[in-house]
Symmetry: C2
Subunit: 223 residues, 2 copies
Amino acid sequence: MTTETHFQKELEELKDNLLKMAALVEEAIRDSIQSLVGRDSDLAQKTFEFEDRINKMENAIDDMCLKLLALRQPMAIDLRFITSAMKIITDLERMGDQAVNIAERAISLNQEPQLKPYIDIPRMAEITESMVRDVLDAFVHRDSKLARSVCERDDLVDGLNDQVVRELLTYMMSDPKTISRSVHLMIVCRCLERIADHATNIAEDVIFMVDALVIKHHADVKD
Amino acid sequence: MTTETHFQKELEELKDNLLKMAALVEEAIRDSIQSLVGRDSDLAQKTFEFEDRINKMENAIDDMCLKLLALRQPMAIDLRFITSAMKIITDLERMGDQAVNIAERAISLNQEPQLKPYIDIPRMAEITESMVRDVLDAFVHRDSKLARSVCERDDLVDGLNDQVVRELLTYMMSDPKTISRSVHLMIVCRCLERIADHATNIAEDVIFMVDALVIKHHADVKD
């Protein structure tokens, strides 16, 4: 095989690993929310195991990228692809940490009577998971249109979050006994919102990489 | 000048820019907290201006790193230094976003009577600022001992955060009229805690880079 073909094969392998890491993160988010909605603290415990697997994948992909940079000395779009991959895995790893935070709150919440039916939170989680999945697809297929649709979904998540926070404030004000549970639920929402922000950060990188256009700091996105 | 001397000069310039970006972030945090403690909403407005400057520095340093990778094809420690710099500026930029979040909460809080004397929050901010300053020093001087001291300070920040959250919960439970202000203050604390987490993430990268040792995923650090 020529050096060029080798390099292309290595890039394909890198893409596969990124998609695998994203799938793992998506699963961690889904399980953490399921542990809350299904009041299943055993499932919450299992979510903690994802953390280690996600961290190991981050380290392995990081090493892979460093080796590609050192040995293949890529240029232009390939160079940008690899440095973006190194930033993306940091975002993915932190999304995994947020899933762990959600599972921790689920365990606390499951010990008390359920405060309210969970409707908006699973909806937020669903959108957030789709953002994680699609943004990695957008990255490996260099699809800036798909990346833009991920940025748009961030507004939906922020809107749902505002709605839940308003509702929880009403609960807290009318009955102080609900305060501790409301705060836990607010933090769950904030974790989902932060996962969506990470996905949006990646989406901005994808758009930058593909269109070589810094839209990043024109959008009003907070971390 | 030889290519080697040129490269060394470029690396020095990169280090200078990283320190300048960190100083800007530190200033943004200080001003955002001062706008809360001094009930100075004009100062809070000024904090928003940092965001643009920080974002521009992020883009400029990112470009610089890409050029160094493409033109100088660095190896080993220099390669790791440059890829770490690219991750660090992402963390710095997000710290800047957190300072903006704090300033936004300060503006809301300054419109109502002050809930309580601010003692722990300025203390948290002071430790957090020192973490930002020291972790960048540790990075450019490859000082893993200083980086470790940054990781240790993260526990102090977490401890203070827990203390403030407990206190605010007491306020909320005894008087529902304090709930909205308490939630704002909880979010300010969470922003500071997240800045400290970003600094800790960088500190772990420094230790990794210097000691080529993955302590990252043995420490119990959440994003």
